[in-house]
Amino acid sequence: MSSLLQELPQLLPWLVILPLFWALFSLALGVLYRHWIAGVFIFLLLATNLILIGQWLLLGDLYYSLGDWDVPLGIQLRLDGVALAMVTVTSLVTAACSLHASTYLDDYPRAQQYFWPLLAFTWASLNVIWLSADLFNLYVGLELLGLSAVGLVALTGQTEALGAALRYLYAALLGSLAYLLGVALIYSGYGQLDLPALSGLLESDASTRLALALMTLGLLLKTAIFPLHIWLPPAHGKALPPVSALLSALVVKASFYILVRLWLEAGLQVVVPSAAQFMGALGAGAVFWGGWMAWRQTELKMLVAYSTVAQLGYLMLIFPLMVGVSPTAAQLAWEGGWLQLIAHALAKAAMFLAAGNLVLAMRRPDIIGLHGVGRFLPFSLLGFGLAGVSIMGLPPSGGFMAKWLLLQSALASGQWWWLLVLAGGSALSAVYIFKVYQQCYIEDTEVDNFRHPSLLLDLSSITLALLALSLGIFSAWPQALLATALSGGGV
């Protein structure tokens, strides 16, 4: 088995090539055989992913130079522990969303034609971002991702979705230009765009600081970190449920991933603790504002979308908890931060899919329509309930483990003020999630007026929610995987 894995050709580029082929095929064939094509390509991608996990365990970090051109001129793909975790989560979440969409889209015949190619493009660009270690390649990945995500939001072609898509597109374009300006400044200063190569080179002069600030600004706008989050709730709340799940779970994480690579891999010598504290403060703002706004929403999917704004705030705590602290605290924060990203990806995808099913069942978007769901549709509610456990950070979920690690890191580095953010944020998320539960168990009618969603829709959501829960129980594996990618062990 192990010799077989070693002799296999390098499969890294196929993570990008396969979804691109899928996109072309489904674009050419339209709605014909769309489920068969999707099934075949998802199977191939999952198989590639499994083989790569085996190869990584056997050989360590994998590298692939496209067209055999080496780094200064060519583009290198790199699979380290974090990238492997992201690739795997992407496969799981996208596969579940595809399963959901294959049934859900039956009601939207016009959307079907473009959903599958755009989904495949999104998958390809996500994999490009996880595997790239080159600032310009990351820019191309970001732009591809932005364009396909905007297309997905606009899929229904209705007024609300269209307005949200336009707002999203303009924010994304502004963000990528700010990022590109930063890239220009870095290239002019160092003649180099490769992240590992830059990590030793960067000096803290004015132009490097300006470049980093511009890139950070662009990436914060794309990640929708408070106060640059205005575009996110309508875009995620008004899109079709499988699209919302994909956007909230993965697409916003891509720019955050680049931000972490930029700050904690390339820019370690340049980044100062006060800047990291400022990033943490933005995160705290996101946690509280997002939680408050989520509680105030009357539409179920908008509540879930604002919850994403809040949960993204926790991710920002990785910066103050890792810059200028002891190696132990830094390692805890590193594992906690990534675990929060993975747990949120799984739980939020599950929650959006479940919210979509509930909206489908009650035939209206607002939370008041949920009355009686607890009695007539317990199975549809189960996905939402289980996902909520992880979002609130209750044990034994992945969300709990992530927050626990962040908490321990904050204690280890003596930054008690982040404890308040973690505790307050969890309390707020409990408040808005119980607001939904409460409405589900109010019974003001004895009649079952609900449309019962098909089993496949409920199952795709419940599977993801169970994965998010088990992430907490089996968190030792992902933690070990993530720890391997920590450069230098501390800051």
């Binding site: 905007v150 269209l162 300006l181 290239y187 003649g191 009357t298 607002d366």
Partner: protein, 111 residues
């Protein structure tokens, strides 16, 4: 101070102008054009700044070529969306406040 630096400076000026237009205008087409102006400024900076060090460098030109392709596709997508938006709503700009609708509806629910 050489020719290339003047290019970069012009690029900076164009980007700032574009950014100003992007923020000040509400008309979707004007904002799109402002974005394109900003993009061109970025490209000028990218080519101009890095040339000043070691003669002619081909890498930034290749990068800019990719950037132009990306900008063209983004513009095309935006135009399609804007056209559809205009057909549906008859408006040339997005509503000022995202939350205006939701705020009123949540007030009604609470009251």
């Amino acid at each position: 101070m050489n020719t290339f630096f003047i290019y970069a400076l012009t690029g900076g000026l164009l980007s700032s102008l574009g950014l100003l237009g992007f923020i000040l205008h509400r008309h979707l087409l004007r904002r799109l054009m402002a974005f394109n102006l900003m993009g061109s400024g970025c490209f000028l900076i990218l080519t101009g700044l890095s040339q000043s060090h070691q003669g002619v460098d081909a890498v930034p030109q290749a990068l800019v070529l990719t950037g132009i392709v990306v900008a063209v596709s983004a513009t095309a997508l935006a135009l399609v969306l804007i056209r559809r938006w205009y057909h549906l709503t008859g408006q040339t700009s997005l509503p000022e406040d995202v939350q205006s609708l939701e705020k009123t509806s949540s007030k009604e629910a609470q009251g």
